[in-house]
């Protein structure tokens, strides 16, 4: 086979491999597996909420977009549409209860529904911020093994 044909074939193969790599690992890369990610911070739920109430700006800089593990006394579990939300209530405002709302990963929905109010639990999730009434955590998982 002539040299220039081999070079062209080599370039074509390299191009296809690069395109596959970009498509698979960059354009179509999977969402982070929040269940397996090590938390950036591990905190008491009440203290975590109070940081946002005291200074939304400072707490947002620290925690928004981070994976946080919290522990505290669960107030209730809500079902909204297809979502299961574990709720920690710390205060009452003009528009009802205020606290931390943890949207559970589907995998943990059934287990979360069985949780009893007032029980102490540990939850890990992705903090999306504070909306003036609640701190929102998404993609949450339950941590079963107590330290």
């Amino acid at each position: 086979m002539k040299l220039w044909i081999r070079i062209l074939l080599g370039l074509a193969v390299a191009g296809i491999a690069a395109a596959f790599f970009v498509y698979h690992f960059v354009i179509n890369k999977p969402h982070p597996d929040f269940e397996k990610i090590k938390p950036d911070y591990t905190l008491n739920a009440g203290a975590f909420y109070n940081e946002f109430k005291t200074s939304r700006e400072n707490a947002s800089k620290l925690y928004n977009g981070k994976v946080i593990e919290i522990s505290g006394k669960l107030s209730r579990v809500e079902n909204a549409d297809t979502l299961t939300i574990a709720v920690f209530v710390f205060s009452k405002g003009m528009f009802g209860d205020e606290g931390i709302r943890c949207v559970m990963l589907k995998k943990y929905s059934e287990d979360a529904k069985k949780l009893k109010p007032d029980g102490t639990i540990r939850i890990k999730g992705y903090c999306t911020g504070f909306n003036e009434t609640d701190v929102i955590m998404e993609h949450c998982s339950l941590i079963y093994n107590q330290k």
Binding site: F95, G96, R101, T128, G129, E132, T133, E138
Partner: protein
């Protein structure tokens, strides 16, 4: 705290002894959708905070930008980091009124057209907005629905030249929020 939120809270407080009812939701849904020649972009947020005063028609919603979920992780990253800059502008808000609130009978089940006027703030930019939607009254709950489009340029959301053909210059926003009576 956002000044508009404070105004609504004061308004809500001043009417608590009267017959005004506040309807609230913490799980409203906002979806946005855009379709360009190469790619469609769709994201959903189901953590929308909403409040509606039945007498005054005051209506607000507040949404955290990082709570928008995309099918593709890369789109979500670009949305937060390059377009909406969610670290700098963590939320979007709407503060306004349902101007025909007197035409809506909150004690009678049914679907009512709602004329909504107010200010929409996205990416730190506030624009007046006037849209039509519906309010559905059923089982003591109120479901607000609306669909409208906005121009990205109005909110200073710039599209890099390299992907200008992939992204539509306007996006369609769908709002669907079921609010319950607030129990004091």
């Amino acid at each position: 705290m956002n000044k508009y939120w404070i105004i609504l809270m004061i308004t809500a407080g001043s009417f608590t002894s009267g017959y005004t009812q506040t309807y609230v939701s913490k799980n409203g849904m906002i979806r946005f959708y855009s379709e360009a020649s190469l790619e469609k972009i769709e994201a959903v947020n189901r953590q929308v905070n909403t409040a509606l005063m039945s007498t005054t028609g005051d209506f607000v919603f507040r949404v955290l930008i990082k709570s928008f979920n995309f099918e593709k992780a890369m789109m979500q990253e670009h949305f937060n980091e390059n377009y909406l800059e969610s670290d700098k502008y963590p939320e979007a808000t709407f503060v306004g009124k349902i101007t025909n609130i007197r035409d809506i009978n909150f004690t009678k089940e049914g679907s009512y057209p709602a004329d909504v006027e107010g200010k929409l703030t996205i990416h730190g930019q506030t624009q007046p907005i006037k849209q039509n939607g519906t309010l559905e009254i059923k089982n003591d709950a109120v479901t607000a629905k609306a669909k409208f489009s906005i121009l990205l340029a109005d909110y200073r959301i710039s599209i890099p030249n390299t992907v200008v053909n992939n992204i539509s210059k306007s996006i369609e926003i769908t709002v669907e929020v079921m609010m319950s009576k607030l129990n004091k």
